[in-house]
Symmetry: C2
Subunit: 361 residues, 2 copies
């Protein structure tokens, strides 16, 4: 097993090695795609499927698409969404036709809110939030699942192509609403190919891989009728919980910072976060800290610090014992302050752009 | 258990008593609805659900709808479709808003033909055939499942309301495509209520009752969000197989006459059909025939003879031993000849009307 390349070290390496092995994923390295973005360079993007197909498109400037979705049920988004936007933007800047679907149908089916409410929430918050995080609204094609006839049609057709046992083996369960959501998502991922056949990549959190696997199975079973190009996928790591767990989770609010969240609440959580510090300040000064085990450093790497050199400086300073955890947390809180201020300002601007967006209807 | 009222007797009474008991259906009698049509009077229509609700609409001239569907995958239709049309026409003549859905999505999902092919077949054959059988095209609202956004949206939402075990207990199995087809059909049955809330009745063969049950369960579980009026249903008996089995079945071609079918093939099948005749002509002359066990009489009753008095005459003549099975079969073949001639002529006329139909799109 090749180690995951992660230039600044990472917590939970073993978990990701296991995921790669269990799911049979391809390893992503900073050399996989040309001119990798920040999270590609830093090993936060770590795996995918059928990556060569997209590398080829990037290198030879061939047509391809990038697609991801917004679930408009929750009141807030999370840092995983930020990474999705960052990767979509990368592909967009490299010539991909970019799609964002709003999963209003899935939201209505799984959360018991009406389609109208789901759409309202998406227009008021989720879409502006994605734009605020860096999505270029002028170059992106948006659609609502509930309004995309081809997507819904394919969902119904694809159900014929999968057995109950397969759903169980892929998802661990097979209740009717999960089946519907899954086949609908396959419809989403292939929709751009009903407009124009071409390779496509789905940048998402690695927890979404079951949907990609199902879709690839469906592609191989509808070859005669549709002849879709197998889709590629790109996975980023989870943002780990502030307590050092694999991922931030709303069920443990102390482990999790949402988007947006007020700075008082963030401050409290950061002060309680797990670091790579030693038992005493003396020991830390003498032996140095362990940034590869530090949640604060992980936040810098994944989200808060854009400049590689600045990140490297912090890493070195910590390693040499010249940075105490207290100082570092205060520094982190400052970064969050700036981040949230910028986010709110961008969100306000983005809300004004929503009326100008291109929706497929 | 009240006996099924069936003025001219019927084969397979026990089977239908069992169906009523097993499914918990209401018994339909010629007195259930005012001015019953031919198959209602003759006990061919034998059961339903929530019939009082529709009787009330009929008597007090309240708004209601009648809806049924066309499956455009098969090359031909069958005599069950004819009974559906007859009942739809009854409701239409009594003021019902009438809907016909074309199940192109279900056809494409279950038969592996494209949506385009399913739609083409429906427009070329199935819709004209329904008109040829008596549906009034001017008073009927048609739609394709694949083009009805609300129906598809509801299908996806409804999946959340049913567990896998319920599907199993209703349908005997729960493969993904059956689940999808079932929730989609619930969407169909309730679609008219998204336009205007009112009672509705679904006239279908009794084998469709599982879909109605599922829909009624879904109605009771979506009360807060939708508050649909529970749907009613009306069931006709199967046209029995020519060999005396419960229903005509394509898997036993000798038992089954399709629409259309050429008269040579019909003649051969009718000659081999089971009758209520005695072992010898002498015995028949002496003891009389048993029309209630005769497939030819069943065809007269269900399909070929419109006039009740004519039907009564044949019944009496047979009972008195004044009609041999050979004569009767020749008579039946003549009726089929006329029926098919009329059907073909009407089909040609109806094909010209298709372009003028009202489709919801």
């Amino acid at each position: 097993m090749t180690a995951i390349i992660d230039p600044w070290g990472s917590v939970l390496v073993k978990d990701y090695e296991k995921i790669i092995k269990d799911f049979g994923l391809e390893i992503f390295t900073p050399k996989t795609f040309p001119k990798p973005n920040r999270i590609m360079r830093r090993g936060v993007v770590f795996a995918g499927r059928d990556l060569k197909r997209i590398a080829e498109c990037l290198k030879k400037k061939k047509k391809f698409y990038a697609l991801s979705g917004i679930m408009p049920s929750a009141e807030k988004i999370h840092f995983g969404n930020k990474m999705v936007v960052e990767n979509l933007r990368y592909f967009q800047d490299h010539g991909a036709k970019t799609y964002i679907l709003i999963a209003d149908l899935e939201a209505a089916a799984t959360r018991d809110i009406s389609l109208e409410e789901a759409q309202k929430r998406a227009l008021n918050f989720h879409i502006p939030a994605y734009i605020a995080l860096g999505l270029d609204p002028k170059k992106t094609i948006f659609y609502f699942q509930s309004e995309n006839r081809k997507v819904m049609n394919m969902g119904y057709e694809f159900a014929k192509k999968v057995t109950l046992n397969e759903f169980r083996s892929i998802y661990g369960q097979a209740d009717p609403s999960r089946i519907m959501a899954a086949v609908l998502q396959s419809g989403d991922m292939l929709y751009p190919q009903t407009v124009e056949k071409m390779p496509g990549i789905i940048p998402v959190g690695v927890d979404q891989d079951p949907h990609v696997r199902l879709c690839r199975d469906i592609i191989s079973r509808t070859r005669v009728k549709y002849d879709f190009v197998p889709i590629s996928s790109l996975y980023h790591k989870f943002t780990p919980g502030l307590d050092g767990s694999l991922k931030m989770s709303k069920s443990k609010p102390g482990s999790c910072i949402e988007l947006p969240e007020d700075i008082k609440s963030i401050t409290k959580k950061i002060k309680a976060a797990k670091t790579g510090g030693r038992e005493t300040v003396e020991k830390q000064r003498k032996l140095g800290g362990k940034p590869e085990e530090c949640m604060i450093f992980e936040l810098y790497k994944q989200h808060l610090i854009n400049d590689d050199k600045e990140l490297q400086k912090i890493y070195d300073k910590c390693k040499k014992g010249k940075l105490t955890c207290g100082e570092d947390k205060a520094h982190c809180i400052e970064h969050f302050k700036m981040f949230m201020q910028t986010f709110y300002a961008n969100l306000e601007k983005a809300r004004k752009q929503v009326s100008k967006l291109k929706f497929i209807r």
